[in-house]
């Protein structure tokens, strides 16, 4: 997927003007923030667990080749077929080929952001295969013909009233009422038939366990198991950074993942999938395929974005991001939104088309504070900004503006004069403590107020203060 037209600025402006979107985002992120805080309050060992989680991920990344080979060996021994894909196109081709060889007509899918990243939904459609999204939120956005706007709650941009409209159109018979419980029942009924009639089930993986060769999915709905058990073939697509040494290491990370994502302690279903159905097993797929996807990850390993490979895709950074909470996920334009998305999208789609994303950040540091594996997201966003500058990607106006500022900053007397004039002019636009509108800055003041500056600059106040101290001596 690309972060192309319209521009980020245009998408963000449209999102800011959408009051319904703001309402929908606030309802879900507000809940997520409260529940996470409660889960952490009940887990005083969280800081130690976070340090451990970070160390586990760093260990795996430092020995990624070793663990990937171990995983592939053990998965193969369990009867699974392991495929390697260097990029999204290779991954799409492998999955489509398995589906076509199996003459699959219906494919059920359990939510996987990697599947979105490699463009699997489109690839299946192009191959003429009916794709059934089984996660409730993915089902909602499939009905709406949209992409996920959040990595945990892909349909969080939709209010319940909008979901009711989609279900009335897309469900036969339509739901009897518009409360969430009735609508969930309706989706359960509609999707139940699909689960049992599918030829292939596709899932992602939250973890790849090196010492058993198992893949791990976590869901609250139970859709992953209903996706992976009845069909003849189970396909897993997973990023190579998902590896952990053992099941016990996965458990240590699960404690962080679920609390950070939803505020729960464990999801309702934590499932390890190890190979296809065993002789005598009562159910399960006859074939299991695991597609290990690089798609830019080995490139990150070699540069300053290596720490981003720790990401366990919990979504806490976006739930706590002041920018995400204003514009929602779609405005970002890439597969992954929010702070983690603004670091990953330039890797996946190129910096030239996504240079606005690392700038859509106030550097308030909330994302790093809540990150369960301590990723220094603001530092990484700054790294993209510098790279954009070095590569000459910043627009002329920005370069010229910064040049002007730099010239001024090198002349202290002139700088102080300019700021003295500046604060006094700004004060003319304010009432009380705030400035509600400002010529040429409507884009800012249309959605928030600017603090009205005090009458004198910092340097003026500092001098006056120093002078007073002198007198007292």
């Amino acid at each position: 997927m690309t972060a192309a037209q319209p521009s980020f600025k245009a998408r963000a402006e449209a999102a800011l003007a959408d009051r319904t979107l703001k309402l929908a985002i606030d309802r879900t992120t507000g809940n997520a923030e409260r529940k996470r805080a409660a889960a952490l309050a009940a887990f005083p060992e969280f800081e130690a667990a976070r340090a451990r989680g970070k160390a586990i991920k760093d260990h795996v990344i430092a020995h990624l080749d070793h663990y990937l080979e171990m995983f592939a060996r053990n998965a193969t021994a369990s009867g699974a077929q392991v495929h390697w894909a260097a990029d999204d196109a290779e991954a799409r081709a492998i999955v489509t080929r398995i589906c076509l060889d199996a003459k699959a007509k219906i494919v059920t899918r359990a939510k996987s952001m990697l599947g979105e990243e490699i463009g699997l939904p489109h690839a299946l459609a192009d191959a003429g295969i009916e794709r059934v999204e089984t996660d409730l939120a993915e089902h909602i956005i499939q009905l709406a013909g949209e992409h996920p706007s959040h990595i945990i709650w892909p349909a969080m941009h939709r209010t319940r009233e909008q979901v009711a409209d989609l279900f009335r159109e897309g469900h036969n018979p339509p739901p009897e009422a518009e409360d969430p419980a009735t609508m969930v029942q309706s989706a359960r009924r509609v999707l139940r038939e699909k689960f049992l009639g599918a030829d292939i089930g596709i899932s992602g993986a939250n973890f790849l366990v090196a010492d058993t060769g198992a893949t791990c999915t976590v869901t609250n709905e139970g859709n992953a198991e209903l996706t992976t058990t009845p069909p003849r073939i189970h396909i897993v697509t997973a990023g190579i950074e998902k590896i952990v040494p053992s099941t016990a290491h996965a458990m240590a990370l699960l404690r962080l993942l679920v609390r950070s994502a939803t505020g729960g302690e464990l999801t309702q279903y934590t499932t390890f999938h190890c190979g296809p159905r065993r002789p005598g097993d009562a159910d399960g797929p006859e074939e299991m395929h695991i597609v290990l996807v690089d798609n830019g990850r080995t490139k990150m390993l070699a540069d300053e974005f290596r720490e981003m490979l720790r990401c366990i895709r919990c979504g806490a950074c976006m739930n706590h991001c002041v920018v995400y909470r204003q514009i929602g996920g779609h405005a970002y334009g890439g597969t992954y939104p929010g702070p983690m998305g603004s670091v990953l999208t330039p890797v996946l789609d190129g910096l030239a088309g996504s240079r606005d994303l690392p700038h859509a950040c106030t550097m308030n540091g909330r994302c790093q504070e809540v990150c369960p594996v301590g990723i220094p997201l603001p530092t990484l966003l700054r790294a993209w900004r510098s790279r954009g500058w070095r590569e000459g990607l910043e627009p002329g106006a920005v370069r010229a503006g910064l040049g002007l500022w730099a010239r001024l900053a090198r002349r202290p007397a002139l700088y102080r004069l300019a700021s003295r004039i500046g604060v006094r002019v700004l004060r003319l636009f304010g009432r009380g403590g705030w400035i509600g509108s400002l010529p040429l800055a409507g884009g800012w003041t249309g959605y928030r107020d600017l603090p009205r500056p005090p009458g004198r600059t910092f340097m003026e106040q500092y001098r006056a203060d120093q002078a007073r101290k002198e007198v007292r001596k």
């Binding site: 060992e45 909602i140 609250n220 139970g222 859709n223 240590a252 309702q268 499932t271 190890c274």
Partner: protein, 215 residues
């Protein structure tokens, strides 16, 4: 080079640190999990069954205790009646359950797409999180835990483990099953405006029958 070799070569190019022997990597991995108590939640109560009960019921799981396995059919009958369900259910084909005297409850094997209720058995329970562990196998169809609206699980109190790591320790050196599943509460979703609804795709009701005595 094939994609596998290309990816592994790219990793080795990117990793500038020295490459230790596999034994050294394994030792480092084990050391990362030392002193597990420092980085995991304490149990909700000193007694395993009590701690398990606190966690499980907080998630909407219901719980009852019976003395012996032989008490299960009567407990199941009561549960079905209390929920206005007909006196019948799908039964996991494990001798510990099929050998019981099911007089009064019509049990069957095989599970319908819209099965109202099913009874299975957990291998272990985990007190830390109120989870139940099931493994796939000849006697354990996975769909038995996902298709019914009411899922009843039998657990021996003696099979309660304190923490998640106690389960992984039990599995060390054992062959992993096709599916190992930790079930932690009834199926639920928060996908519509973050509001919690039970019974999304899996069971809307999870009932645990804790058997206090062996045999």
């Amino acid at each position: 080079m094939n994609p596998r070799d290309r990816i592994l070569a790219a990793i080795r190019d990117g990793l500038t640190t020295p490459r230790p022997e596999p034994e050294a990597i394994a030792a480092e991995a084990v050391a990362l999990l030392a002193d597990p108590d420092q980085a995991r939640p304490r149990l909700a109560a000193p007694d395993l069954a009590e701690a398990f009960g606190i966690k499980a019921t907080a998630l909407g799981t219901t719980l009852e205790r019976v003395a012996r396995l032989a008490d299960i059919p009567a407990a199941v009958g009561r549960y079905l009646a209390a929920h206005g369900l007909p006196p019948g259910l799908a039964l996991q084909p494990t001798p510990a359950l099929t050998d019981l005297d099911w007089n009064g409850v019509a049990v069957h094997q095989g599970i319908a797409p819209d099965e109202p209720a099913a009874l299975g058995m957990a291998l272990w329970g985990i007190a830390e999180s109120g989870s139940l562990v099931i493994h796939s196998g000849p006697e354990t169809p996975i769909l038995l835990s996902f298709l019914p609206l009411h899922h009843i699980i039998v657990l021996h109190e003696a099979d309660l483990l304190p923490h998640l790591e106690d389960y992984t320790a039990r599995m060390t050196g054992q062959a992993a099953p096709r599916n190992a599943i930790l079930i932690t509460g009834p199926s639920g979703t928060t996908d519509i405006e973050g509001s919690y609804v039970r019974g999304a795709h899996g069971p809307g009701y999870l009932h645990v029958i804790l058997v206090t005595r062996q045999g």
